[in-house]
C-alpha cells in the first residue's frame, strides 16, 4: 500500500492517539516538574489599644490571581519525585543511617505512601497472576469433560465474574463479606468470633482483595485454556494412552506442554492488567490498609482536601508508566522476534 493511501486510512486513528495519549504523556511529564504556587502572605499591621503588631496573613485574592495566571505552578525540578510522598530519598537515607536492623528499616520504608502502594501493587500482581492461571486451568479441564449440552450454560456462568464492571463486582463481594452479610456472618459462626471482621486488619484486607482479583480474572485464563484444549492433538493423547499413561500423566506430558505458550500469553496479559489494580480498593473501601499506584493518582486528582495535586499525581503517573514499561519489556521483545521471524 503506498504511503499516501496508508496515511489517508490511518490519520483519524493516529490523530486521536496523538492528541489524547501521546500529548497527555508529555503534559504529565511537564506537570510533574511543577508544584502549585504557595499561598501569598502579606504583612498586616494590627493596631489596638496596646500598640501595633505585625501579623502574616494569607492574601487569598493574590494567591488566586497568581494561580490563575500560571496554572502549572512554579518550577520544582525533580523535587516532587524526591519528596516524602514519592521516592522519599531523604527519608530513606535517614532511615538507613539510623537503622538498627533490616526489618525495622523495611517497615519504615513500607510506611511511606509510594512504597506502601508499590508493595501492594506488586504483591497483588504477582500473587493473583499464578492463582488465576492455576484455577483457570483446572476449571478448563473440568468443563472440557462435560457433555456438550451443558457446556454452553457452564461457560456463561463462568464468564460472569470477568464481564461484570470491576467496581460493581467488588461492591457485591464487599457487601457479602460485611460482618452482617452472608460470608462475613458465616465466617464469624465458623470461627466462633463475633468480632471477626475482614475489613479490620490489613492482612485480611490484602487477602480479600487478592481473592477478589482471582475471582475476577480466573474466567479469562479459563476461556483461553479451554480454547487451547480443543486443539490438543487427539493422536498424541491416544498414543500416550496406549503407552499406558494414566490421566494425570496424559495431562502432565501431553496437555500441559501443548498449553505452555498460552500460559505465557495469559501471564503477560494478567501482569499488565493486575498492575493497574484500582477499582477493588475503592469498592472494598480498603485504602486504610491497601493502596495501589493507580489509587494514589486517583486520590491526588480527586482533590479530597480542596485542591487537586497535579504535580504529585503527574509524578506518580510517570513512575507508574516506567513500571509498566519494565513489565512490558518481555512482551515487546517477543513481538519483535515474532515479527522478525515473519519478515
Amino acid at each position: 500500500m503506498p504511503h499516501r493511501t496508508f496515511m489517508s486510512f490511518i490519520w483519524p486513528s493516529a490523530l486521536a492517539m496523538l492528541l489524547f495519549i501521546a500529548l497527555p504523556i508529555v503534559s504529565v511529564a511537564v506537570q510533574s516538574l511543577f508544584v502549585a504556587h504557595e499561598q501569598v502572605f502579606v504583612e498586616v499591621e494590627n493596631c489596638g489599644p496596646f500598640g501595633c503588631t505585625t501579623v502574616q496573613k494569607i492574601d487569598s485574592q493574590a494567591t488566586a490571581a497568581l494561580r490563575a495566571a500560571q496554572p502549572l505552578g512554579q518550577f520544582n525540578g525533580l523535587g516532587t519525585y524526591l519528596n516524602r510522598n514519592h521516592l522519599a530519598s531523604a527519608e530513606i537515607s535517614e532511615a538507613w543511617q539510623t537503622r538498627t536492623d533490616l526489618a525495622g528499616f523495611m517497615s519504615k520504608i513500607l510506611n511511606l505512601p509510594f512504597y506502601k502502594a508499590l508493595s501492594f501493587t506488586l504483591t497483588y500482581t504477582f500473587v493473583v497472576t499464578p492463582f488465576v492461571i492455576i484455577l483457570g486451568f483446572f476449571v478448563a479441564l473440568a468443563v472440557n469433560r462435560l457433555p456438550s449440552f451443558i457446556k454452553g450454560p457452564t461457560i456463561f456462568i463462568s464468564l460472569l465474574p470477568m464481564i461484570v464492571t470491576p467496581l460493581i463486582g467488588s461492591l457485591i463481594l464487599f457487601w457479602m463479606i460485611d460482618a452482617d452479610g452472608l460470608i462475613g456472618g458465616t465466617l464469624q459462626l465458623i470461627f466462633d468470633d463475633p468480632d471477626l471482621s475482614l475489613k479490620a486488619s490489613p492482612a485480611l484486607t490484602w487477602v480479600t482483595l487478592i481473592v477478589y482479583g482471582v475471582w475476577h480474572s480466573a474466567p479469562f485464563s479459563f476461556i483461553v485454556f479451554y480454547a487451547g484444549l480443543q486443539t490438543v492433538p487427539k493422536d498424541t493423547l491416544e498414543s500416550a494412552m496406549i503407552d499406558g499413561a494414566n490421566r494425570w500423566e496424559q495431562v502432565r506430558y501431553v496437555v500441559i506442554p501443548h498449553l505452555l505458550p498460552l500460559v505465557v500469553f495469559i501471564s503477560l496479559m494478567q501482569l499488565m492488567d493486575n498492575f493497574r489494580v484500582f477499582e477493588p480498593i475503592v469498592g472494598f473501601n480498603a485504602e486504610a490498609s491497601a493502596t495501589s499506584l493507580s489509587w494514589i493518582i486517583y486520590n491526588d486528582l480527586r482533590g479530597s482536601d480542596g485542591n487537586i495535586l497535579f504535580g504529585s499525581a503527574a509524578a506518580t503517573s510517570l513512575l507508574t508508566i516506567i513500571g509498566v514499561c519494565i513489565l512490558l519489556t518481555p512482551v515487546l521483545i517477543r513481538t519483535w522476534r515474532a515479527h522478525g521471524a515473519r519478515a
Partner: protein, 294 residues
Amino acid sequence: MTIVASLKRPSFLSIAAMAFLVIWLAIAAVPFLWTLWGSFKVQADFFSKQDWQNALYGVFTLAETGGYFTGNGYEGAWIKEEFWRSSVNTMLMTLSVVAISLTLGTLGGYALSRSGYRYAFWVLIIALVFRAMPHITLVSGYLLPFFQLNLYGHLGTTIVVMVAINQPFTLWMLHSFFQNIPKDLDESAMVDGCTRFQAFRYVIIPVMWPGVITTGLFSFLLAYNDFALTGLLLSQENQTMVPKIASFLGSAQEEGNVMYAVSAVVSATAPLFILVMFFQRQIVSGLTAGAVKG
C-alpha cells in the same frame, strides 16, 4: 480390551472434577443471585444482624413494608437519586464510543494489515505500549488543559477521550481480523479498476462484520465498565452509572440507604448479563483471538 478399559475414566476423578466444577460455578454465580434477591429486601434483611437467612425469607421486609418483596431500593435509586439520568448518560456514551471507535479502528486496522512497510509495525508496537498503560496515568494530563479550555465535565469530552484510549486495542484486534481476510480479495478488485477506498468499501466492508462485532463488544465493555476516567472527568450532573454508584456509597451509608446502591448495582449489571447471553460466542472468540495467534 485393555484400550477400552483405559478409555473409561476412573470414577473417583470424575466425581472430584464434578465437585470442583460445582464449587466454582457456585463461587461465580452465587454473589450475583444473592445480590439480585437481596435488592428486593430492606436493609435490615440484606445486612441481617441476627441470621443471614433473614435475607432469604425477608422477615423485616414483611414487617416494614407488608410484603415479601419491595421495590423501595429501586424507587429510591432510579427516581429519588435520579439514576435514570446516569443510565441515559451511559447509553449515550457507550453507543457513541463504540460507533466512533469502530469507524476509526476499521480504517486504521485495514491500513495496518495491508501495508508492508516497517512503520506499520512500529505503529502497532507503540499502540501495544499505549494499551498497557493504566488509563488513570493519563488523567492528570487531561485535567489541566480541560479546565483551561472549559472542556471539563462534559459527556462529549469523555467520549472523545474514551475513543482515543480505546484505539490501541481496537487497532490490534481489527488488524488481526483483517489479516485473516485474504489480500487477493481486495487486490483483485483493484486490478478490476477499483481505487483502494472502493475496494475497501465494496469488497472488505461486506465481509468484515464478524470481526467488527467482536471488537465492538469489547469497546462496549471498556466504556461501560470504566471508572478511572468517568470518575474523574465527568461533572456531577453528567455522571454515568459507575461513578454514580460510587457516589452513592459516600452519602448512602449514613442515611441508611445502602439499598439504593444495591438496586443500582443490580440495574447496571443486568445489561451485561443480557449481552453475554446473546454474544457469548463472539466474546469467547475475541478473548482467544490474541492467544491463538500467539
